[in-house]
């Protein structure tokens, strides 16, 4: 029987970590992810798990130690936010290129400056080109479910890549909501034991990790990483299917809410999806066919699948919670429109920027977005391609 509980997102991820009982966790505190290493340390202090915790002196060292531990053959994880992830950046690339299945609980927070502790997606999106798998949650339940699935994806023999399990800082990480937890035994069986093929601590079978490579080899290495990410797509779906079998909760690359017959779709990531769904519900009652596409898997990017999901709508709004400073829009704005173009789907789109540094995104804001889309379609209004929501 599933366990009904009330938990914050940080508690939910920590609970998943407890159930998985990984081998090694180096971590350094940073708001709003700090609770995760705190809770894991408490589990260890109380003898509930026997993970080895390394209280490193910085995030750069937490990812460095994670790389060492993972290369040594240990199931490894860390947690961080914002500047912590930025400080790890060099090491994120090394974790991926060394093909180490490290899990990282990312609690999304804006990047300085100005320094601010609240949510946007600057940190996660900033790491989009590091070769990590990235899965985003809408709420505590998804953060928990995604973390339970993380190692199955990352450690898969066709993948062997690090994975970021992302949730919105404070909005998800600190807000307490209802949640359904799985029994310890079920989680243990689902996640299984880590059996690395090659590792530093294999007596009599030494390996060397982290070479210098001349130009003759570098491109092939990068291409192999790409192949692994392509492989990850099927693995993510397979693992989700198996997870549905034990939990009853289904996951794909994205969640679709009333999109099947929708004229207008908002595409976004994370906790704001709940707000947008409320707006869609209101509009449906008013006879407007509104729907929400909530992206879950951002890396690998399911371009073709997104294009297919949007092809029948009249207009789509792509909402970004992270400035890319390219002056034309955000990250999702660029990648989703490229996906549509490549798949010859020529619907109208508008790219919006919202919620930076924790700025509220309300049901009214979401309704306003749908209103914009209707104007474009019904009144042939020229779409403003890139707009800020809630800017003072």
């Amino acid at each position: 029987m599933a366990i009904k509980e009330r938990m914050s997102g940080n508690e939910a991820v920590s609970y998943a970590i407890k159930q998985i009982n990984p081998d090694v966790m180096p971590a350094f505190p940073i708001t709003p992810s700090t609770e995760i290493p705190q809770m894991v340390s408490t589990y260890i202090a109380n003898g509930e798990i026997d993970t080895e915790f390394i209280p490193v002196e910085s995030e750069h060292s937490s990812m460095s130690a994670a790389i060492g531990a993972s290369a040594a053959g240990a199931r490894t994880l860390t947690a961080t936010s914002s500047a912590g992830l930025a400080f790890m950046w060099e090491e994120l690339l090394l974790a991926a290129s060394n093909r180490l299945p490290i899990a990282l609980a990312l609690v999304l927070r804006t990047l300085s400056g100005p320094i601010n502790i609240n949510c946007d997606h600057s940190d996660g999106m900033g790491a989009r080109d590091t070769g990590w798998i990235q899965i985003y949650a809408e709420n505590n339940q998804e953060a928990y479910d995604n973390f339970i699935q993380a190692y199955r994806i990352a450690e898969h023999k066709d993948v062997k890549l690090p994975i970021m399990i992302c949730q919105d800082g404070f909005i998800t990480s600190h807000a307490v909501e209802n949640i359904e937890l799985l029994e310890d035994e079920k989680v243990k069986n689902f996640v299984g034991e880590y059996q690395p093929e090659e590792y530093l601590l294999n007596p009599g079978k030494p390996i060397s990790v982290g070479p210098y490579a001349v130009t003759n080899y570098v491109m092939e290495g990068k291409k192999n990483q790409l192949i692994a990410l392509e492989n990850a797509k099927q693995v993510i779906l397979d693992v989700a299917k198996e997870f549905a079998g034990i939990s009853g909760r289904e996951y794909g690359f994205f969640g679709e809410y009333k999109t099947e017959d929708a004229d207008y779709i908002i595409l976004l990531i994370g906790s704001a999806a709940g707000t947008a769904k409320d707006a869609a519900d209101q509009l449906r009652k008013e006879g407007v066919k509104a729907g929400i596409l909530k992206l879950r898997v951002f890396r690998p990017f399911p371009a073709k699948e997104i294009a297919q999901a949007l092809k029948n709508c009249k207009a789509a709004a792509i909402l970004d919670r992270c400035e890319s400073y390219n002056t034309n829009g955000g990250v999702l704005g660029s990648e989703v429109t490229a996906a549509l173009y490549q798949n010859k789907i020529m619907i109208e789109t508008v790219n919006y920027m919202y919620g930076l540094g924790g700025r509220d995104f309300t049901v009214e804001d979401a309704r306003g977005v749908f209103e914009d889309l209707r104007n474009i379609v019904e009144h042939n209004a020229a779409p403003e391609q890139f707009k800020y929501i809630g800017l003072r």
């Binding site: 180096p26 040594a72 240990a74 030494p206 060397s208 990790v209």
Partner: protein, 313 residues
């Protein structure tokens, strides 16, 4: 620690295989081989390495010179990387995932750039957490891999590519950082300062002590660099000896807080004897620069006296 048998130690199988691309006359490889000879037969090791000459020359894909498991991560994190490996060892052993009868030791190498400077925080963290590992700094006193730029280990007045000697410059303006003392102040179980000298008993014994002392150990090894120091490559052993006999590079250890002088020259040689052999100090011997040598000598004397005081405690 048993007695030192030169023949026996030197006949041990090499754990850094030939075929690497380090320069002829390089001190770093001699130091690495000396440290690895202190590993007991049958013991495994995981070797860490900061980015630097040693790394790019010894593990060039798809070839490795390392007979033991080896990990290079980046420039500034050899300390934290190996702390992760060492922790994994404890975690996996505790859980019965590694054979109980197989022993692993953890040794990481970094140049002075990766150790004194960019890797200082990571080193300090690993030492403070007291991981059961040895951090070995091969100190050649500049960023040699990128072309001889000054580091905080570079001695005063050395001519480097970022402290070039010119009409308005006598080379580096600052004294070198005393890293062995700084790490000793972390209260780690063992710190040793050594170099390649005589029959290699000093470097061997200190390496063995560092590897087999439980907890964090630090070795600072002077490793001349023929490119950066500009000496005749055949003279490396002479250079090392002069570094010790002039008290520029004293041999000492700090064993569980106790400072022990390993060697006291019968007659301390003047610092000129060490400086004269090296092109990077050539300008000090030009007429009119006599006072620079006097200052250099004064700093060597001051540090030597301080060390004698610490060791007498």
């Amino acid at each position: 620690m048993s007695g030192y048998n030169f023949k026996e130690v030197m006949s041990k199988p090499e754990r850094l295989a030939p075929g690497h691309r380090m320069c002829a006359g390089c001190g770093a490889t001699i130091a690495v081989r000396a440290v690895l000879r202190a590993l007991h037969e049958g013991d495994h090791a995981v070797i860490g390495n900061a980015t630097g000459c040693l790394e790019v020359s010894s593990f060039m894909y798809p070839y490795t010179s390392w007979e033991d498991s080896y990990i290079h991560n980046a420039f500034e994190n050899a300390g934290s990387t190996l702390s992760g490996v060492e922790t994994a060892y404890r975690a996996l052993r505790k859980r019965g995932k590694l054979p109980a009868d197989e022993t692993f030791k953890f040794i990481t190498f970094g140049g002075d750039g990766g150790t004194y400077d960019i890797g200082f925080q990571s080193l300090s963290g690993a030492m403070e957490r007291n991981h059961d590992m040895v951090y070995v700094c091969y100190d050649n006193g500049a960023y040699m891999n990128t072309g001889i730029q000054r580091s905080s280990a570079t001695p005063m007045y050395a001519d480097t590519t970022t402290t070039p000697v010119g009409s308005h410059s006598n080379g580096k303006m600052q004294n070198r950082k005393d890293l062995a003392s700084i790490i000793a102040d972390h209260d780690v179980p063992y710190v040793g300062q050594t170099t390649m000298i005589g029959n290699f008993s000093d470097i061997h014994k200190k390496s063995e002590k560092a590897i087999y002392t439980e907890g964090a150990s630090f070795l600072n090894i002077l490793t001349p660099c023929p490119r950066g120091w500009r000496y005749n490559t055949a003279e490396i052993m002479k250079i090392c000896k002069l570094a010790v006999e002039t008290c520029y590079w004293p041999l000492f250890e700090v064993d569980h807080g106790k400072w022990i002088l390993s060697y006291e020259p019968k007659k301390k040689l003047p610092i000129e004897d060490f400086l004269r052999e090296q092109g990077r100090f050539k300008h000090l011997f030009k007429p009119g620069n006599e006072d620079l040598i006097v200052q250099f000598q004064a700093e060597v004397d001051r540090r030597w006296e301080e060390l004698l005081y610490k060791c007498a405690r």
